[in-house]
């Protein structure tokens, strides 16, 4: 935790206090956080920060910061990661991954290199494959069911130093 605090502090030395005894209410804005080297290349960095932030705007207090890294670490259990993964991919935060969310995800992943029909096709296929209850969008149960069978999820997805 000490090191994390060091990292947190060095991002904005004039704002973040070294001494947390008075429980100050300090939040770092999103811009600073997504420039961290671990997150910089990630296409979902804004979503990650947003889903851990308390106010939903993307500013992280130290508690949120610790929260984020503890979920992203190797030690966090699979279910917890699945929960947060769902939050990350749910762009409009309606607790469902609908088609628009899927399209946004795909665009971020491929940096908009696919044509519109290809995008539609992929999104349709995803919903077809994973939607169990037939409502046209992915609820958390669908997502978890699908993710739990993926062989690469734990290994690629959330391992961090």
């Amino acid at each position: 935790v000490y090191r994390l605090h060091g990292r947190y502090h060095e991002m904005a030395p004039n704002v973040v206090p070294m001494d947390y005894t008075k429980d100050p209410d300090v939040k770092l804005p999103m811009q600073l956080i997504i420039n961290m080297p671990e997150l910089k290349e990630n296409p979902f960095k804004e979503r990650i920060v947003e889903s851990f932030s308390e106010d939903g705007e993307g500013s992280l207090s130290f508690n949120d910061f610790v929260d984020m890294f503890s979920v992203l670490s190797e030690m966090a259990p699979r279910e917890l990661k699945a929960i947060y993964a769902f939050k990350i991919y749910d762009f409009n935060t309606d607790n469902f991954i609908c088609k628009a969310d899927l399209e946004k995800t795909l665009n971020k992943l491929t940096r908009e290199e696919l044509t519109a029909e290809e995008i539609t096709l992929v999104c349709e296929k995803v919903i077809e494959e994973a939607d169990m209850d037939g409502d046209g969008k992915l609820g958390f149960a669908d997502f978890e069911n699908m993710i739990s069978k993926a062989p690469d999820f734990l290994r690629y997805y959330f391992k961090k130093r």
């Binding site: 935790v1 000490y2 994390l4 605090h5 005894t21 429980d23 671990e38 910089k40 290349e41 990630n42 296409p43 979902f44 308390e54 508690n63 949120d64 610790v66 929260d67 890294f69 503890s70 992203l72 670490s73 030690m75 966090a76 259990p77 279910e79 917890l80 929960i83 991919y89 899927l102 995800t105 795909l106 992943l109 491929t110 940096r111 290199e113 696919l114 290809e118 096709l121 992929v122 296929k125 995803v126 494959e129 939607d131 169990m132 209850d133 037939g134 699908m146 993710i147 069978k149 993926a150 062989p151 690469d152 999820f153 290994r155 690629y156 997805y157 959330f158 391992k159 961090k160 130093r161």
Partner: protein, 816 residues
């Protein structure tokens, strides 16, 4: 308020007394009183909207209250307010001090990695609670706390209920990490739960057992902490972990998987090295007859002049040949030294044991990998997985990220095309023809390389017969250089051929891997066969002339001995043995050492080739591209030659074949595992450096997970193939009569029967005799075959059942 205060005060006193003196009473009303009081206080502080803050101040006041009591203050509530406030601050500060201490300690010990803070927070809280509790205890013991208290035992059901609640809270603490709440909420819930557990846990034990119970609880906590620290320590001990993680973040996990494979191989080789070194080389070196005492242990007089030259040593002849490094040095004495160490038995068992160990560990790793993989290909969520799990979160480097984006896009496009299934194969006949042609060409290449090696080995034997001194360096090292060159150029040739085939890239890669595998295998086996030919020739020669040759050699020896007796041939050969310098004694042939030498030379030259290829192929190329780019006509970095990529498949195959050679040769040259350990060690550092410095991330970042088992399967195959020659020689070729631990026996495995006769009690020999009766062995083999068949059948049926269930799920889904 005052009365409540008093009541609470006595309750506090009771509580203290309970914890401090270990009496096993409990006021029935106490828990409830405490809770209501807490709630009251919460009512007081409603203006504090921060839930966390509420808990904290409540908690703090709680403690300061206790302190106040212990100090003996009976001041009224109003008086205590300012004191409380001050005490609050003091308390808070001390708590924070504790925090800082814990953090520092945590930061210094362990690794302070991100993954630890999840651990640390509850741990820290636990420590804090304990520390504060200890402080309280000290203060309490300091003051004279009155332990007068009412004794009211609680009923059984209350006890049971309390226990249940405590268990619940404990479970909550354990699973808190898994809950997706905000950190503040987690912290507050954790605090509450821990407080609850602390309060009631100590009191739940009965009578004298209470102290012991509290002690047990403390020990359990300490033990858990110890286990956690030990786990952290173990992770810190894994060699090269940081290096591999760094590579992973730059190049993706597929390249890192090669290094993980390398590290695993290093582990295996270390164990093999430990076996051969500890059980074969060291005993011989310590307890066997020293150099120069026996003819087989001495450099022959003829070679003595050049024995110490670097060239001879590099070639592993001269002094290197007549040392513990090779088979020929070992004496066939049954036991050596004062420990009665059975050298020949040990040699045999180590040889067989290292092969057995390798088999076991490769199979075990394969089984583990198969389990991890989830039992095979599952394409039911193809697109979903591509979308949600293809991004490699380990990437922290923009170049790699670019490549990863590109590869994701390509993979999507591929999947889309396959899904659409509207791609018509133009000229299906042309494609088929081209593929057949490509395969034919590949086969030709393989046959050509095989023949080339055979031819070269034959030539080298001819050279050896005519004496190596007449030829230059090329002729002497022809075989090794030819094999290495073939290994370098044929894969590129295969690459060119595969462009004819127009396959899906993944399938093309598999074909490529398969062809390179066949190439290396063919080369190795041709080499072995050529060697074997030579050995067989010698063996046949020996078989038909063994006794003759022995007689001849012995006769020569007696004549020569006689020449020392001033020319008279003695009538019988029972003349007193004359002390002769062992270097002068004529020697018999020693084919095992020769084979061992060949393998060692091959390994060394392979090692050299790899290093030189890395230095020239990667490093010089990178330097060239970087510095000559300014003064060159076309852009070197984008066009030809550009920076090289890390060739995963080539390197992995090279590693596997190298290991195959080690397995083959280690029976004849116990020094091989040692050489390999050295080689892997340096290769790890060299390749890590080269990858980070001269390579660029691959264009097609392929998934490492499924290929792992492919590599393991190849390794297993190679292991099987490489143990065949050794087993064949053990079983059917007689060992040389003049060197090695089995000299004098007709077959090497006779050492086992000899040991059984001499060293074990007689009934053991009988039992073994019965057990090795074919009448018993055949049914046993039959039984094993049957069980194999049965297991195979059940696993197939499970897979089918699995598929059926999946189909059912799908249809249910469709219905919905």
């Amino acid at each position: 308020d005052g009365s409540d205060d008093n009541k609470e005060g006595s309750a506090v006193e009771n509580e203290e007394a309970a914890k401090g003196t270990g009496q096993s009473w409990r006021k029935k009303a106490t828990p409830r009183t405490r809770r209501t009081h807490d709630r009251e206080r919460h009512g007081d502080e409603e203006d504090e909207d921060d839930e966390y803050g509420t808990r904290r101040t409540g908690h703090r006041r709680h403690r300061s209250r206790r302190r106040g009591r212990a100090a003996g203050n009976e001041a009224s509530d109003s008086d205590m307010e300012p004191e409380k406030a001050r005490k609050n601050q003091a308390n808070q500060k001390s708590k924070e001090d504790n925090d800082e201490d814990e953090d520092e300690k945590g930061g210094k010990s362990g690794k302070g990695k991100n993954e630890k803070k999840g651990d640390k927070k509850p741990d820290k809280k636990g420590k804090k609670e304990k520390a504060n509790k200890k402080k309280k205890d000290k203060k309490k013991s300091g003051s004279g706390s009155d332990s007068e208290s009412e004794e009211e035992p609680i009923t059984e059901e209350e006890l049971a209920k309390l226990k249940e609640e405590v268990e619940e809270k404990k479970k909550l603490i354990a699973t808190l990490r898994n809950k997706p709440w905000k950190m503040k909420k987690k912290l507050s819930v954790l605090k509450e739960a821990q407080l609850f557990v602390e309060k009631f846990e100590g009191a739940l034990g009965k009578g004298k057992g209470k102290k012991f119970y509290a002690y047990k609880v403390m020990m359990t906590k300490k033990w858990m902490k110890f286990q956690r620290d030990f786990e952290n320590f173990k992770t810190a001990c894994i060699p090269w972990e940081m290096k591999i993680k760094e590579i992973e973040s730059h190049f993706g996990s597929s390249v890192a998987s090669y290094f993980i494979f390398l590290r695993w191989m290093y582990g295996i080789n270390m164990i093999l090295f430990g076996l051969t070194f500890g059980l074969v080389m060291v005993p011989e070196a310590l307890m066997g007859k020293p150099y120069g005492s026996l003819p087989r242990k001495t450099v022959p007089r003829a070679e003595e002049a050049t024995a110490m030259n670097f060239a001879t040593l590099w070639d592993f002849s001269g002094f290197a040949q007549y040392s513990v490094l090779f088979y020929g040095y070992y004496n066939n004495q049954r036991t050596i030294g004062w420990l009665k160490f059975r050298m020949p038995l040990s040699y045999f068992l180590v040889g067989v044991g290292s092969i057995g160990y390798s088999f076991m560990i490769v199979t075990r790793t394969m089984a583990k990998n198969a389990n991890d993989d989830g039992g095979g290909d599952d394409t039911s969520f193809n697109f979903s997985w591509k979308m949600f799990t293809s991004w490699d979160y380990l990437i922290g480097n923009p170049e790699t990220a670019d490549n990863k984006f590109a590869s994701i896009t390509t993979s999507f496009k591929e999947a889309i095309v396959e899904e659409q299934e509207s791609r018509k194969e133009e000229n299906i006949h042309l494609t088929r023809f081209l593929r057949v042609l490509a395969n034919f060409l590949a086969l030709c290449t393989l046959a050509g390389s095989g023949y080339l090696i055979f031819f070269v080995v034959r030539r080298s034997q001819q050279f050896a017969l005519e004496g190596l001194e007449n030829y230059g360096w090329w002729e002497r090292n022809e075989v090794n250089t030819v094999m290495s060159l073939l290994g370098m150029f044929c894969p590129t040739l295969f690459d060119v051929i595969s462009s004819l085939e127009n396959y899906h890239p993944r399938i093309a890669l598999r074909w490529q891997l398969g062809r390179i595998f066949a190439l290396f295998l063919g080369n190795l086996y041709t080499f072995i066969i050529a060697l074997m030919d030579e050995i067989n020739l010698k063996a046949r020669y020996l078989l038909s002339f063994t006794l003759e040759e022995e007689k001849i050699v012995k006769y020569n020896m007696t004549i020569w001995e006689a020449s020392l007796y001033n020319g008279t041939i003695p009538e019988n050969s029972t003349a007193p043995p004359i002390q002769v310098d062992p270097a002068d004694v004529p020697r018999g042939p020693c084919w095992e050492t020769m084979v061992g030498q060949e393998f060692v030379r091959l390994t060394v030259s392979d090692m050299m080739t790899t290093y030189i290829t890395i230095l020239i192929g990667d490093f010089l190329r990178a330097v060239f591209v970087r510095f000559f780019n300014y003064c060159w006509c076309w852009d070197l970095e984008y066009g030809f030659p550009s920076y090289s990529e890390f060739d995963i498949s080539g390197n992995v195959l090279g590693l596997i074949f190298n290991q195959g050679m080690i397995w083959m040769g280690s029976f004849y040259a116990p020094c091989l595992p040692a050489i390999n350990v050295f080689r892997l060690h340096t290769s790890m550092y060299l390749q890590c450096w080269a990858v980070m410095c001269c390579n660029v991330p691959q264009e097609r970042v392929f998934k490492a997970s499924r290929s792992n088992n492919f590599y393991m399967a190849m390794l297993l195959f190679i292991l099987f193939l490489s143990t065949l020659p050794a087993v064949y020689t053990i079983v059917s070729i007689p060992p040389s009569f003049d060197c090695g631990p089995f000299s004098g026996k007709t077959r090497m495995f006779e050492v086992i029967s000899e040991t059984l006769e001499h060293d074990f009690p007689s009934w053991f020999g009988k039992v073994f005799g019965y057990a090795s009766n074919p009448g018993l062995i055949l049914p046993f083999i039959l039984l094993m075959v049957l069980s194999l068949y049965y297991l195979n059948a059940t696993s197939k049926s499970y897979k089918e059942a699995n598929l059926e269930l999946k189909k059912k799920l799908q249809s249910v889904r469709l219905e919905n």
